[in-house]
């Protein structure tokens, strides 16, 4: 009886050995990337503290001026490599007036320095000077190589250009 069962037994064993290893890569669930320290701001010192805006998120409401730069930063941690980081800035509340155009910013970053497990996102965005003032939504979306994605959202108040200091 043993001689009949033997080939069977080895076949089953071989199958078990092979399968128990090959499962690894495909079936493990990879958690989506995590975004922390999401930060939006104009020039230094203009990111308001949260005290008077306790209903806002802990970053407070950031302010930037037309025609100037604003920076967007975030720390990202992923279990597999990041493949793209998308930054979107738009406003639902404001309508362009005379001589103004809608600002709908959308850029996908695939720089080599971001295609890692733990990138630090940092970009300076030039704000056009001919857009309507008001509150803009900023959305950062990161996607990893498994297709998992995570977004972080924030707001920035874009105001008229600062008067040159005399």
């Amino acid at each position: 009886m043993k001689t009949i069962l033997k080939p069977f037994f080895f076949f089953a064993l071989a199958l078990f050995v092979l399968q128990s290893c090959s499962e690894e890569d495909d079936d493990i669930i990879v958690a989506a990337p995590v975004i922390s320290n999401f930060e939006i701001g104009g020039a230094h010192g203009e990111e308001l503290e949260g005290e008077e805006h306790s209903d806002e998120d802990h970053e407070g409401e950031a302010i930037a001026h037309k025609g100037e730069g604003m920076h967007v930063g975030a720390d990202i941690l992923a279990q597999v490599r990041i493949t793209s980081i998308t930054l979107e800035i738009h406003s639902d509340e404001v309508q362009p007036g005379a001589g103004e155009v809608e600002w709908d910013f959308n850029q996908v970053y695939t720089d080599a320095k971001y295609m890692v497990l733990n990138p630090e996102f940092h970009e300076d965005i030039q704000i056009p000077s001919n857009i309507p003032s008001g509150e803009y939504h900023v959305t950062l979306t990161v996607v990893d190589e498994r297709g998992n994605s995570t977004s972080a959202e924030g707001h920035i108040d874009i105001m008229d250009e600062e008067e040159p200091m005399s």
Binding site: F9, F10, S20, G41, G69, A112, V116, L117, N118, E120
Partner: protein, 157 residues
């Protein structure tokens, strides 16, 4: 005969346990990069003259192997900060950029060494805005972890 089968079973079980744990071992160590040694350049608060050429040097290390570097220079006229800057330098006043120096180069590392030194020659163009800049080094290992260091520098006329 039965003993033999037992042996094979034990062997196979051993294979499963050890064979699989080996492949799933995670690399949890980030590579490091630093300019904190005598020849490292630029050191914090270094002043770089326009029109001059400098050799940037940083040492990197990792537990598994280094894969690539990036070296970036961007202006800090708005005085933002990074998470990896221990030292504070004297800053110019906040200002708007006119023609800032912006540079981002990547370099691959051959052979996945555990230790390596990046040496890159960079010329500071004559027409860029003088002022405060960040010099950002990063190194990526074979797993995909990144190590970073950022140095405050000043470009002067």
């Amino acid at each position: 005969m039965i003993k033999k089968i037992h042996l094979i079973v034990f062997f196979a079980l051993g294979l499963i346990v050890f064979g699989c744990t080996e492949t799933s071992e995670l690399d949890e160590e980030k590579p490091t990069i630093s300019v904190s040694y005598a020849q490292g350049f630029p050191q914090a608060c270094a002043q770089l003259k326009r029109g001059e050429t400098y050799t940037f040097r940083a040492k990197a290390s990792d537990n598994l192997g280094l894969a690539s570097y990036s070296l970036g220079i961007h202006h800090n006229f708005d005085q933002h900060t990074h998470d990896d800057q221990p030292e504070a330098c004297e800053m110019d006043a906040v200002k708007s950029p006119n023609n800032p120096l912006t540079l981002l180069n990547t370099y691959s590392v051959e052979g996945a060494p555990l230790e390596d030194e990046l040496t890159i020659s960079i010329s500071i163009p004559n027409n860029v805005d003088p002022g405060d800049y960040h010099c950002a080094f990063s190194v990526t290992d074979v797993t995909g972890w990144q190590g970073r260091t950022s140095v405050d520098i000043k470009i002067i006329e």
